[in-house]
Every structure is written in structure tokens, then in C-alpha cells.
Symmetry: D3
Subunit: 153 residues, 6 copies
Amino acid sequence: TDSHADVSATHDQVIQIETNIDDQTAEGLGYAMDQLLANGALDVFFTPIQMKKNRPGVKLTVLVKEQDQDQLIRLIFKATTAKGVRYIPYQRTIMQRSFKKVTYRNMIVRLKVASFNDIKRITPEYEDCKEIAEKFDLPLNTVYDEVKKLYQE
Amino acid sequence: TDSHADVSATHDQVIQIETNIDDQTAEGLGYAMDQLLANGALDVFFTPIQMKKNRPGVKLTVLVKEQDQDQLIRLIFKATTAKGVRYIPYQRTIMQRSFKKVTYRNMIVRLKVASFNDIKRITPEYEDCKEIAEKFDLPLNTVYDEVKKLYQE
Amino acid sequence: TDSHADVSATHDQVIQIETNIDDQTAEGLGYAMDQLLANGALDVFFTPIQMKKNRPGVKLTVLVKEQDQDQLIRLIFKATTAKGVRYIPYQRTIMQRSFKKVTYRNMIVRLKVASFNDIKRITPEYEDCKEIAEKFDLPLNTVYDEVKKLYQE
Amino acid sequence: TDSHADVSATHDQVIQIETNIDDQTAEGLGYAMDQLLANGALDVFFTPIQMKKNRPGVKLTVLVKEQDQDQLIRLIFKATTAKGVRYIPYQRTIMQRSFKKVTYRNMIVRLKVASFNDIKRITPEYEDCKEIAEKFDLPLNTVYDEVKKLYQE
Amino acid sequence: TDSHADVSATHDQVIQIETNIDDQTAEGLGYAMDQLLANGALDVFFTPIQMKKNRPGVKLTVLVKEQDQDQLIRLIFKATTAKGVRYIPYQRTIMQRSFKKVTYRNMIVRLKVASFNDIKRITPEYEDCKEIAEKFDLPLNTVYDEVKKLYQE
Amino acid sequence: TDSHADVSATHDQVIQIETNIDDQTAEGLGYAMDQLLANGALDVFFTPIQMKKNRPGVKLTVLVKEQDQDQLIRLIFKATTAKGVRYIPYQRTIMQRSFKKVTYRNMIVRLKVASFNDIKRITPEYEDCKEIAEKFDLPLNTVYDEVKKLYQE
Ligand code: NI
Ligand code: NI
Ligand code: NI
Ligand code: NI
Ligand code: NI
Ligand code: NI
Ligand code: NI
Ligand code: NI
Ligand code: NI
Ligand code: NI
Ligand code: NI
Ligand code: NI
């Protein structure tokens, strides 16, 4: 949800890389997530899993573009305790995206316009709304609601 | 576990569709599950995932027949806030299934008979047992146990 | 669920001890669970929690009798990386319990008989059923079902 | 989120009842949730927990008013396989609540108005919005947004 | 794990505040965690819970000092969609803590020395180690190991 | 993490088998995990999932070598209540592995040496460290740290 380029395609492919981890601390995994996102991963997430010998493990999943696969597997080996990773290509269907802007309280807020055939969705940018929420001490939801109303007028 | 037609095949294929959601409420997701199940999804389930920026996200997984894929992807875009979905075909091995009936407390209860080579399993239908449990104010387990005993006699 | 003494009381009290862990591996936590159970904890369980800085942490919960509290807190400090624990007394309402025995395939199986007013439940002992399932290469469910039927005859 | 009476208090007390379950199926637990909600529980929820012997257990939590405690403990013993429950009183701070109505597409929609000092929040009723979403084949979010706009005009 | 003052007490008390959330997005919850931590919460964490109507909800737990309770409940009402919170005091037993320093690669690293009777544990500070890991492009674990070795020499 | 043969390959393939379970107890699933691991599964883990009708289900995932697929699917049908399984091949990239030994307190401890290009990682064997921790009543972490230090000297 953080790529801000216009997207007109409706199909692409990603590689999903997974590994089960039972010998790294949560502190280390939090840091690994930051590193993976900073180095080109499309998405990174953790799933709680229950492994053998009563171990409360974590499955790390990393979505990458095919051309980044080798570099990111290398980074997983460096940033985590994984001794192996498994991966598989997924096809994707994606909504087409473009960006609009509105001015709210003298700040510019981007809105993502996503469409798929007759389905259309407007999503104010999280980072822009958060900045305003912090600056004016407003609930985040209030900013979202106001920005959407502004756009629709 | 809710299809009641006899199944004699032992292999088929399903499409597994997944999407990570961090911008929809749990209320909205509960409603989306109902819609997907009502429109031909074979199975729908949520997995708690931990996404970037400290977000307690949810992975939505939908299993569909290949011929329903396009229609259900469209429904996911309508019923959820997903802006993209990823999918992949899985092969399946399934037990052969047929149905039997017993009469318990003047109510008809279906039993699913599943077999795979020498393995055989009898499962009373949940909906039928639940109806009896409610009507006669019995624990659900009691109904299951009684129905299985009846069938085996 | 593994104490085999008859219980006639319907109320008692336990201390629930909790601590959030983000700097110990799942391997280490699995070992800690074993140690806590071997040293008098009534129950030990892990809950996946999402902590600050994108950390996929684990909450350790240990239920103990009041007289064991100090010893088990000491063991938590030894067996885990926790630097503090929090705890609170819970009241309990418990079913009264006695034990019966049946002989199945020449093996003795204990059954827990739990009752609370007019509610009565029969549970074959897991460890006994498992031993039979292993010895005769049977599904565990089959053993449970057969043992319950034997008892009810 | 489903009580529709006006609330003017800001403090009350609830009893939180918990029990760990490792010997009941998910089917049975889903049915138990329905029964508990239908018989006066304020809230019912499941937490995935990891229990001894590699068991993927479930913690059942039930919030009740003090006067309903005995009746609901009895129902837990009837509807689940729990052989004991633990409980503890929690204090609560709650927003004051009143209800408004708007008419949207000729349907009446209730809105919950919650306030706490200078904080005020408007929430359209889920069940009302869902009914409209189904009837007019609209995304649930669209209905929420439209209803909130109507109210603010 | 982020307070850096020496601690000599072994007992204190915290208030645990909880609320179940089913009508806020994960984006909003991630932002709320940041706000709560920035305003005096001792700890904030999310637990995935399964609520009625098939809702994949989240339980928010906030640990606070008694004197901060009112202010943080107010912030929960502002930063989340909760319409009520429940809370309870927990007693705590905590390890005594002091801080040491070592110099590694010309950077100062703090180490937390925690002790409880004869149990003693040394933990390098996460933030300091992370800074070095980033600056010298080292695995975080390598920095931890080297720093501990330095301290023990 | 429990195969102790040297591994020089860096790529192989595994079959990932999955099934959603809502009609088996956690007790039964814990036993099934043991059976699957004892019969050639490379890895077995549980993921908490939220299924239809408010069911707190479990996804069972089993990783197997292609030649073991048929036998392990058969075992899943025998040891669980699954009536179907889905599966898919994953490619794997794995670190090369060899084993070293050190003597600590007169006990032999194996260390796994994993390498991938310039990345190298040393991991003492869990089972060996656990045995020493138990015998000498030491924290598991202490044993790991001492063993690693011994190896590096
Ligand atoms: Ni964005
Ligand atoms: Ni297409
Ligand atoms: Ni069915
Ligand atoms: Ni076949
Ligand atoms: Ni037991
Ligand atoms: Ni027992
Ligand atoms: Ni009583
Ligand atoms: Ni309501
Ligand atoms: Ni007050
Ligand atoms: Ni710190
Ligand atoms: Ni003390
Ligand atoms: Ni090993």
C-alpha cells in the first residue's frame, strides 16, 4: 500500500518466500523486517505458528519481484537465523491505480484511486494523514473522513 | 465439510487466493466472509498476521474452483479493501464420500461416510446435530455420540 | 486436566503469572515450558502477541497454586529471559472429579468422571488411550470411541 | 457493540471468565459461542493458545454481569468440555451512549453517539448497514460513509 | 525493556487495561500503539482474538502505572474506536537492574545487568546494538555476541 | 533443524501439504504432530485460523520430500479428521551444512556450521545443550553461550 506510481496493469507475478523460525528472538525478527522492507521487499509479514517440541515459532513471509529474489534470499540468510527458505511464484490480479491530491489544513494529502472494472475505491495516503493527525493532534479517523469528504465535493 | 453430494474422485484442483488486509475493520471482514461463502467459495478463512508499522493485519484466504476464480476475485475487490490478490493452484487428494441417514428422536440425521483405501470415517452432519441439540436442549457432543452409536448398531 | 486424584471441591483459587517475552528463542521457550510443568505449574501456555518495534512476541502464562508462587517465579527468571512477571489471583469453579477404569484390549484405561450438579461428563485418559493407539496402530479417536462405549455398556 | 439502550454511567464492573480448551472441536466451540451470546454473555471471544504436548488449544473468554455469573458458568460446563473455569472482576470505564436515527434509501439506520468528556464518536449500527448493503448490493463501507455524511449534514 | 534507570525494588504494581476492537483498521491500531507508547504506557501489545459474527478482532492491552491510568484511558478513547475499557491491577516481581557500558568499535554500548537472588542476566541494549549493526552492516546477533564477550573479559 | 548429515547442495524441492481442521481436538492434533514427525515429515506446524461459523480452526502444514508424499497423505487421513488435503511443490534454497564437535563439561556437543557464500553461522545442537542444561541444572542460554565461546577459541 505504499507504492505511489500509477499502475495500469491488472496482472503481474510475485515470488513468495517463506521460512519457519524457532531460534531467533522477536527483537531480532523486528529488526529483520525493517531491513527486508528497506531493501526492496514488496511486503513482509509474520505469522504465529506452533512448531514441534512446544515451540512458539514464527513464519516469515516475504513477497518479492522475481528479479529481487536472489538478493533478498541472501538478506534473509544474513538478517535471520534461517538455514533454508522455500519459495513459489504467485500470479496477481491488481486494481489499476492513480493518484489525486487535495489540500487539507494547508497540507497536501495524496489519495490513491484504485479501480477494477466498475469497482472504484478512494484511499487517502496513510503517511500524509498521520502527519496531519500528529501536527494538529487529531484522531487519525477524523483526518481520513475529512479528506475523503473534501475529495468528493 | 458442507457439500453433501457423493464424491468418488480422489484428486482434483483448487485455486487458493490470498490477500493481506490492513485497512478494513473486523466487522467488515466478517461480513465479507459471509458474502464469499454465499457466492461459491469452497472455503474462506482468516489468519492473524503481523504487518509492517506495528499493524495487526489479517490474511484472507479463499479456496475456489478454477471456473469461479474471476467472479470471486471480483467479489473480493468489492467486499474487502484489498487492492490486489495473489493466487496459485493446489492439487488435492480427497477421501471418497457418500451419505447415510439415521433417525434419532424422530429427526433425520445425515452421516458422511468418507473412505480412502482402508481408512474409513463416519461424521454426523453438523447442521443436523445442531438442530437436534437446540430442539432438545442437549449438549452437541451428546447428539454426535448418540447418532454414531445408532449408526453402528 | 492431568491430575488423577478425586476432587470433591467446587471452588478454589489459582495465581495466574504472566510475562511478555521478546528476547528469547522459541527453542528456549519450548524447553522452559517443560521445566515449568515438571516443577509444579498447574498449567503453562503461550499466546502469540504483537509487541512494539514489529516484534512477534510471546506471552507466557503460568497457573500455580498460591504456595508455589515464589518458587515458580524464581524458575521463570531462571528458565526464561523475563526481567519481571505480573500476577493476579483468579477464583475457580471446578467440576467434581472421580476416576473409573475399564479394560480394553487387555489394557487398563482410566476414565475421568466430571460432574457439576446435573451435568456429567466422561473423558477417557489421554495417556492411556495414546498408549493403546500406538501399541495397536489405531487412530486415537477410535480408541476414545471404543473406550467410551465399553464404559457405557 | 450491540446494546442499544442509552448509557449514562461511565463506570461499571464485569466478571471475566476464562478456560483453556484442548479436548473440544472447533465446530463445537463455534456452537458454544452462539449459545453463550444467546444467554446473556456481554462478550465471548477465542484466543489461540499453545498448550503442552504440542496442542493447538483455544482460550475461551466470556464477559458477564456479576448477576449472570453462576448461570453462565453452568452453561460453559454444559456447552464446552471445560472441567473448570477461572474468573476475576474487572472495573470498566465506558463512554456514554445515546442513539440517533437517519433515513437512507428509505431505510432507518441507527447511529450510536458515544462521548467521553470532549471526545465524541459516531458509529452507524452494523446490522442496519448490513441490511442495506445486502438489499441494494452495495459495499458495506459505502453504506457507512453515506450514512455518516447524511448524519453530519 | 527500555527503561534505563537503575531499579532496586523487587515488587511494584501495574494496571492492565484491555479492550477488544472490531471496528478499527490495522493501520489505525498501529498508529495508536505508537501514540500510547509515546505518552507513558509501560507496554502495549496486540493479541489476535476471534470475536462473534466471524470477526477477526484484536485485543489491545496497555500496561500503565496507577497514576497514569486516567490519562491513558482518555488516550485510548481518542486514538482507538473502543467505547469502553476494562482494567485490573497486577502485582509484579521484578529483577533488580543496573547498567554497565562497554566500548565496541568506538561506540558505547549499554548493558542491562538484571539480578534476582543468585540469578544474574546480562543484556546488551537493543538500540545501541542496532545502531552498530546498521553502521557496520553486521548481523544483529554478531553485535550482541561480541558485546557480551567484551563485557565478560 | 534436526538433520545431522552434511549438506552440500544449495537447492532442492519440498512438497507442502496443508489442510484446515475444525472437527478434531487439540489433544488429537498434538498426537498427530508426533506421528507425522516420526514417519518422515521434514517439518510439521500448526497455524491458528478463523473458519466459518465462528470456528477457531487450525491449519496443519506438513513439509515432505516428494517420494514420501503418498505415504504421508495416507498418514494424515489416518491420524487426523481431514477429509482432503491440498499440496504444492516449493523450491528451496538452503545453506550448506557440516558438523563440528566440542567437549564441554565432559559432554560432547555438536555444532551445526551453516554457510552460504560469505555468510556463516554456528549453531550448537539443541538436544545436546538441553541434555547438559538438565544434567548440570544450568539455564539453556548459558550452555549455548559457553559452547559457542569454546568453539571460537
Ligand atoms: Ni501509500
Ligand atoms: Ni484477468
Ligand atoms: Ni456437511
Ligand atoms: Ni493418488
Ligand atoms: Ni489431561
Ligand atoms: Ni489425566
Ligand atoms: Ni459456587
Ligand atoms: Ni449495535
Ligand atoms: Ni473515572
Ligand atoms: Ni532498553
Ligand atoms: Ni517477594
Ligand atoms: Ni539438530
